[in-house]
């Protein structure tokens, strides 16, 4: 059946901001789909609030709406664009849920929009856990025993049947949100209460626990002729009870016999048919009792997912792209397999390698959390590795994570195991990010495979494979510098660093021994067919075999180094920049080659670059790709800190680095040297000093004057930063650092950096490009939250709404001076603080920043592409002459664009939502509108905050904020808000002419703010914490707000902008496509 001709335009809904459980895999899927639909002649309308995505690039869709993904906004877009069809299966749970809401409200009927891919009935059948179970029962597929309930009372009834521990699973959720295992009634009550809240339809399932069973996933595709194929099977190393997103997973499944696998396959396909997924991909999850083989279906997702992205990268089969084609009428056998070109997509990929995915966690950023894994997802990113065997892929995956580990064992950076084997085995029962290493430790200490398997729930097959790694390490250790062991070790995935550790020599010496012995990395192709057919795919992974399949190097190759697994502070924005570089390089006649290990991204689509190497981003792995590809240049400044830190080893090995030199990068990174440069350039910086012992720290701080900002130099990315008000706090802080590093802090070599903290200053971000002689200012962004709140957690506005033009001018001049001073060639990001009209430099990063995509979308100038040209030798003047850069700096034609950060408080309710110099946002959204108020209103809605235009506000201000707070309170009162406050704030506001209702302190009376929040009597919380003493009342109020979905603002500047946004209403009257904004701007 060929392409449908009765539809011309299709609305695609993206997944919005990156949050835990829904990350950039949906940009990858959406981008593929939009591209293929357009190539097929459809008019594609896209809505996605996330500016950091490739899919929202203005060239990709015909009309791109960077607007909130809410039923109201999407309805307006439908009214304006009149699409014939809507494809709801590419934007994760967000798109499905909005689609259901729109269907309910009749919008599709009104405008004659057809749902393609999955209809309302199929979505409901899969997502409503109660209905799903009924349907499975009707076709004879087993599920866990369960009852679905809509109240706590009913849940208590249900548990008498299924017993404790009971699994609680809300409907229509993502990333295991609101799920949990209840061991007793108290737990059941609290989990069910939260679960009912999380489920948009207020329904949860109370289910028999199958904790410890093996967990599997199958990725299934079906077309409208009812052909169905399984693209990939995935086996979770961590058993049931750890969310698949938080589990180490392996593809293909390793421990199923053919009979079991085929039964599972049959059930997965039957499940798709019964649920009624007409076309496209779905993910079906199974649990298998290892003792008996009894199998149940856990759930199915009728859409592309994190697992489908992983499956696509693991097999080379582009699920989202094919799903989009199936949705518009093609059948699987009509679509050629890209990779062979000559065989159809109606087949099941055969793998001749093993893929391991390992989640990455950022628990260090959330001290209130226990690093214990459960059914609710907590990971912020993932790395994937491909090896010929499981041990090889596992070790590659572990070093891809960039958590400092080189592999499973034999690791110079591993902490020594403490305690007895018995203690270790007891610890192993608790799932955590470290468990895989502890399991290896236990094996090393002599635990048997069965013992380790029993406590962890890992299948003994995997444990035995880990034991093989342990045994190889032991053999290698006793065969010092014996090259015969090199090949074995390398084939087990050992990095040179691990072997070096075992042999107590340098990693470079191991590399030298290796090349002398001829043990060289070979590259194999990911070809969907285990070499059965000739493949044209340029998709490779490194391993140690006889034959190397990578082609002979060309002479115009440029390598772009990606950013590795997502983590807080280094996410999709950097992948966006890398993808732009490859696009621009190809346009400029180069052959772009991508090296990355993040399966979620667009950069690791084999379509993105001329060749893709799915490899860890370590010096050893990257240098081998360089040796293979012989590039004319390597681009390190677009992938964030990961490639930047590789620039030094690369340069040392004689690799040509594009743009800004590693020396200049190092100068900007070294705060002492950078301070000296600022002095030399007469660029003002807050007074600063370096302390190499605790006593010195006190002296430096007193010399500078409190408050000061302290950061240890041994951790990057703002980790361990603290604002300190006085000597006592300083001592506490240094003490806590010693504790956190187990007393191993070495201040003499890794000193403390102490800066004067600029209080109540306005922070400003600048993105610029320098070609060595000229500087192009991409954008000057004013932050909403004051300096002291990490730039990544702060909203920012372009053009600056409150800055004096003279200040902006000064900022631009300082930017130019620093760009020249640092000898930047390419991108430069600088953060400034403006206090009392004076401009100070906080830091300069000679690389792409988090704001590059936002600025590019706001101004229509693709900074990363321009920077790529500049790095490859074009001058800004030439680019301007070629029409790639505007002649005058881009004005936004009366528009304001705001980027708002999205924070994971809902996922981590135990964590206090105070903002500080540590970044904790997982993602961002953008609002663009004629006024600041309207833009912010949309950004807030896009970030999921629903603030009513009037109601009851609870205000609690710290002393410093009180003067500013009065104006804010007046504005809210003018809007019709009733104001509640506790004693101190109330008195202050009342004295300034406001009508305030007194409430009690927390726990001290009937008018307890926490209670009021719980009872739904407060609509908005404004609570500005005071310095580091952000504990006590404030914290319990903020946590209550988080739990009950009450918007909570923690800065006065944020509050002021909020008041402005409330005046603008929802801002939805300003819904417009990005293309129309850009057309206005260039008029």
């Amino acid at each position: 059946m060929p392409r449908r001709t009765d539809i011309d335009s299709i609305l695609v809904i993206g997944s919005g901001p990156i949050i835990i459980g829904q990350a950039c895999e949906f940009d990858y899927s959406g981008t593929q789909a939009v591209k293929v639909l357009r190539a097929d002649g459809f008019r594609v309308v896209l809505v996605n609030s996330n500016p950091a995505t490739i899919m929202t690039d203005p060239e990709l869709a015909d009309a791109t709406y960077i607007e909130p993904i809410t039923p109201e906004a999407v309805a307006l877009i439908i009214a304006r664009e009149r699409p014939d069809a809507l494809l709801p299966t590419l934007g994760g749970q967000t798109a499905l849920n909005v689609t259901m809401a729109l269907a309910e409200s009749g919008v599709f009927d009104e405008y004659g929009v057809e749902l393609i891919g999955a209809g309302v009935d199929a979505i409901e059948a899969a997502e409503d856990r109660g209905r799903f179970k009924e349907i499975m029962g009707s076709i004879g597929i087993a599920c866990a025993r369960s009852h679905y309930v809509t109240s706590i009372e009913a849940a208590l009834g249900a548990v008498s049947d299924v017993g404790y521990p009971a699994m609680v699973r809300p409907s229509y959720i993502l990333g295991g949100g609101g799920t949990g295992l209840a061991h007793d009634e108290a737990q059941l009550r609290s989990i069910v209460a939260a679960g009912l809240d999380t489920s948009p339809i207020g329904e949860v399932l109370i289910e028999e626990s199958v904790m410890g069973w093996k967990e599997f996933e199958l990725e299934v595709m079906r077309d409208r002729a009812d052909n169905a194929v399984v693209i990939c099977s995935i086996e979770n190393l961590d058993p049931m009870g750890v969310h698949t997103g938080d589990s180490i997973t392996v593809a293909p499944a390793m421990t199923l016999s053919d009979r079991e696998y085929q039964e599972m396959r049959d059930e997965a396909i039957a499940c798709l048919r019964a649920v009624g997924v007409e076309t496209g991909g779905s993910n079906v999850q199974f649990a298998v009792d290892p003792a008996t083989g009894r199998r149940i279906v856990v759930e199915m997702n009728p859409r592309v997912s994190r697992s489908s992205a992983l499956a696509s990268k693991a097999t080379g089969f582009p699920i989202a792209k094919i799903a989009a084609k199936l949705a518009v009428g093609y059948t699987l056998d009509e679509i050629p397999n890209d990779i062979t070109g000559a065989t159809p997509s109606s087949f099941e990929p055969a793998l001749d390698y093993v893929v391991v995915k390992i989640p990455r966690f950022d628990f260090a950023k959330f001290p209130a959390l226990d690093p214990v894994l459960g059914t609710s997802m907590q990971s912020v990113g993932e790395a994937m590795a491909i090896g010929r065997t499981f041990p090889e892929a596992l070790q590659k995956g572990l070093r891809s994570l960039e958590t400092g580990r080189c592999g499973l064992v034999a690791d110079p950076s591993a902490e020594a195991t403490t305690g007895t084997l018995t203690e270790l085995l007891a610890r192993l029962a608790i799932p955590s990010p470290e468990r895989i290493f502890s399991a290896a430790d236990a094996l090393q200490m002599g635990a048997s495979v069965d013992e380790v398997a029993a406590v962890t729930g890992y299948d003994p097959w995997f444990v035995d494979q880990m034991l093989e790694i342990v045994e190889v390490a032991a053999e290698v250790a006793t065969s010092r510098e014996d090259p015969t062991w090199l090949r074995t070790a390398k084939r087990y995935g050992f990095s040179d660093a691990q072997i070096a550790h075992l042999w107590e020599i340098g990693a470079d010496e191991v590399t030298a021994l290796r090349s002398a012995a001829g043990v060289m990395r070979t590259y194999k192709t990911v070809d969907t067919c285990a070499a059965e057919f000739e493949a044209a795919t340029p998709y490779f992974y490194g391993t140690f075999e006889d034959e190397n399949e990578a082609p002979v190097a060309g002479d115009r190759t440029v390598i772009v180094l990606g950013s590795g697994p997502n983590r807080i502070g280094q996410g999709i924005e950097f992948d966006y920049c890398c993808v732009h570089a490859t696009l621009e390089l190809a346009q400029a006649g180069y052959e772009p080659v991508m090296v990355n290990c993040n399966p979620e991204t667009v950069s690791t689509d084999y379509d993105t670059s001329s060749r893709l190497y799915f490899e860890p981003l370590t010096p050893e792995d990257v240098l081998d790709v360089v040796a293979q590809e012989q590039p004319v240049a390597v681009i390190v400044q677009l992938g964030g800190q990961t490639p930047l830190s590789l620039s030094v080893p690369l340069e040392a090995a004689g690799v040509p680095i594009a743009g800004t030199t590693p020396e200049a990068i190092a100068l900007a990174e070294d705060r002492e040297r950078f301070a000296a440069l600022c002095d030399e350039l007469a660029v003002p910086q807050p007074a600063s000093g370096t302390a190499r012992n605790p006593h010195e720290a006190e002296q430096v701080a007193m010399g500078i004057g409190f408050p000061v900002l302290i950061r240890p130099s041994f951790v990057l990315g703002g980790r361990g930063m603290r604002i300190v008000d006085n000597v006592d706090e300083l001592r506490d802080y240094v003490g806590s650092l010693y504790a956190r590093t187990h007393g191993e802090m070495d201040l003499a070599n890794e000193p403390l950096l102490i800066d004067r903290f600029l209080e109540s200053a306005i922070e400003v971000d600048v993105d610029a490009i320098c070609d060595g002689s000229e500087v192009y200012i991409g954008g000057v962004m004013e932050h909403v939250e004051q300096a002291g709140i990490h730039s990544g957690d702060s909203a920012c506005v372009i053009p600056p709404p409150t800055l004096d033009p003279a200040v902006v001018k000064e900022i631009e001049e300082l930017t130019i001076r620093l760009a020249h001073g640092l000898e930047v060639c390419g991108l430069l990001n600088i953060q400034f603080a403006v206090k009392d009209g004076e401009v100070w430099v906080i830091e300069a990063n000679p690389r792409a920043s988090r704001t590059v995509p936002f600025v590019s979308k706001a101004t229509g100038v693709p900074l990363a592409r321009i920077a790529t040209r500049v790095m490859m030798g074009d001058s800004i003047a030439e680019l301007r002459a070629a029409g790639l850069l505007p002649t005058t700096p881009p004005a936004l034609a009366g528009r304001t664009a705001i980027k708002e950060a999205v924070l994971p408080w809902k996922r981590f309710p135990a964590e206090d939502r105070v903002l500080g110099p540590e970044m904790r946002a997982t993602g961002e959204v953008m609002g663009i509108a004629p006024t600041v108020g309207a833009a912010y209103a949309k950004a807030l809605r896009a970030a999921g905050h629903v603030v009513p235009t009037s109601g009851t506000v609870f205000i609690s201000l710290n002393d410093a904020d009180k003067p500013e707070g009065i104006r804010l309170a007046h504005r809210l009162a003018d809007l019709g808000y009733r104001i509640l406050a506790t004693h101190g704030t109330a008195g202050h506001l009342a004295r300034n002419g406001l009508d305030v209702t007194h409430v009690d302190k927390v726990g001290e009376g009937p008018w307890d703010p926490v209670r009021l929040i719980e009872d739904g009597r407060i609509d908005l919380v404004i609570n500005t914490p005071s310095g580091t003493r952000a504990r006590g009342d404030g914290s319990s109020i903020r946590q209550a707000a988080t739990r009950h979905n009450v918007p909570c603002i923690t800065t006065v500047r944020g509050g002021r902008l909020l008041a402005e946004s409330l005046r603008a209403g929802g801002g939805l009257d300003t819904v417009a496509s990005l293309q129309s904004h850009h057309a206005r701007a260039s008029d």
Binding site: A225, D226, N227, V229, P252, M254, T255, L256, S257, D258, R259, E260, Y261, Q262, R265, D266, P290, A291, T292, G293, T331, L332, D333, P336, G341, A342, T343, P344, S346, F347, E348, P349, A350, L351, D352, Y353, V354, R388, T389, F390, V449, D459, P460, W461, D464, E468, K524, C529, A530, A531, E532, F533, E534, E545, D546, E547, E549
Partner: protein, 382 residues
């Protein structure tokens, strides 16, 4: 202990020896199936061959009696990338390594199986010998001396000695005679599960002996190697056609094709795996099929037309098969086509009750998509 594979063209690959000691020589083929190594090892269709598994980890879930497709493996050897030393599965009754040793199968692990596969894909399936790497010279001679598969009647080597009767599971609905040309056990199970009483007979059984059983249908099983030398069976089938409904699978399909007067030919490296898409020409539906064969039926030999040249770099289309052919027993329709290379995957006769498929509807190992073919056979005989 180091071992080596030496191919007839002189290529040497090295690995570790597992399984039985000694050397083995045979045609080296690869299968892309990712599960089902035990079914593959015991599939008599692999008689005379050395099997390369492209899936790297083999042995993971051990071995058990239930998955055997024959009393013992008929293949000559096994080559894998990584043999599992520890099986883990509730169905496991033993380790693969022990099983290989017990059944005297010489095997290698640790080999660059992908290199080997690519080599066989481009150079074609060829003879090879495996053994100790100290015997490379001997292995080379063995490989060079191996005559290849064409022209050898392997089916007669692996067939049963005498006839046996397998009762129907449940109420008997029909009685069929099955020619054992190297039949997999799961085929008999599928027939029996559908209420068929199955009389299994040796490859050389003449038609008269079969008809004496008064069967409702005759089944032609899968089996190894080249169909052309299996003269006795081909002759018997000629005598049976038109008298009793005939259904063939794999080698059985080729035998039927030869009996109808078509020719067969050797594929460059065969079809061995569990992921081959096959289109049912009657309604366009695609089944994912289990395959294991090195030869194929050429229906063009029964037409006056020249076969079209397969397109390069394009998906093969229906025009690679004739719409119909006329053979000894009247009109023949192609019913199924392989979508990877356009080859014939099934045929049916219009004038006599006979049909066959090149692939394995019984799966074991592989997908169950095509099980319905057994039901079609049941309707044809009841």
């Amino acid at each position: 202990m180091s071992g080596a594979l030496v191919l007839a063209d002189g290529t040497v690959l090295t690995g570790e020896r597992i399984g039985a000691r000694g050397t083995a020589v045979g045609e080296v083929v690869f299968t892309t199936a990712m599960t089902g190594y035990q079914e593959i090892l015991t599939d008599p269709s692999y008689a005379g061959q050395i099997i390369t598994m492209t899936a790297p980890h083999i042995g993971n879930y051990g071995v058990n009696d239930a998955d055997d497709q024959a009393g013992a493996p008929a293949c000559r050897g096994l080559i894998v990338r990584a043999l599992s030393r520890r099986a883990s599965n509730h169905r496991a009754e033993g380790e693969l390594d022990d099983y290989l040793e017990r059944h005297d199968i010489v095997a290698l692990t640790g080999l660059d199986t992908r290199r080997l596969t690519r080599h066989l894909r481009t150079a074609g399936a060829m003879a090879g010998a495996i053994g100790s790497d100290r015997d490379v010279r001997v292995l080379r001679e063995l490989a060079a001396a191996h005559g290849g598969m064409s022209g050898r009647d392997l089916a007669t080597e692996v067939t049963c000695d005498g006839s046996t009767r397998v009762p129907a599971a449940g109420r008997p609905r029909a009685h069929v005679v099955a020619y054992d040309l190297g039949m997999k056990r799961d085929i008999v199970s599928q027939l029996s599960a559908r209420g068929m009483e199955v009389t299994v007979v040796p490859a050389g059984t003449p038609a008269a002996a079969v008809l004496a059983e008064r069967p409702d249908g005759v089944f032609l099983s899968n089996g190894p190697g080249d169909p052309e030398p299996v003269h006795a069976t081909i002759a018997a089938v000629r005598d049976l056609l038109g008298r009793v409904p005939v259904f063939g699978i794999c080698l059985g399909h080729q035998i039927l094709g030869l009996a109808l007067g078509a020719r067969t030919y050797k594929l460059p490296f065969g079809h061995h795996g569990g992921n081959h898409p096959v289109r049912r020409l009657s309604d366009g539906r695609v089944e994912i099929t289990s395959q294991n064969h090195g030869f194929a039926v050429d229906l063009w030999t029964l037409t006056r037309e020249d076969p079209p040249v397969p397109p390069v770099g394009e998906m093969p289309g229906p025009r690679l098969l004739p719409t119909a052919a006329v053979g000894r027993f009247g009109r023949i329709r192609p019913t199924h086509q392989n979508l990877n290379d356009g080859t014939l995957e099934g045929l049916a006769c219009d004038d006599v009750a006979a049909f066959s498929v090149q692939y394995h509807p019984e799966a074991a190992p592989g997908p169950n998509d095509a099980l319905g073919l057994f039901d079609e056979f049941v309707s044809a005989v009841t």
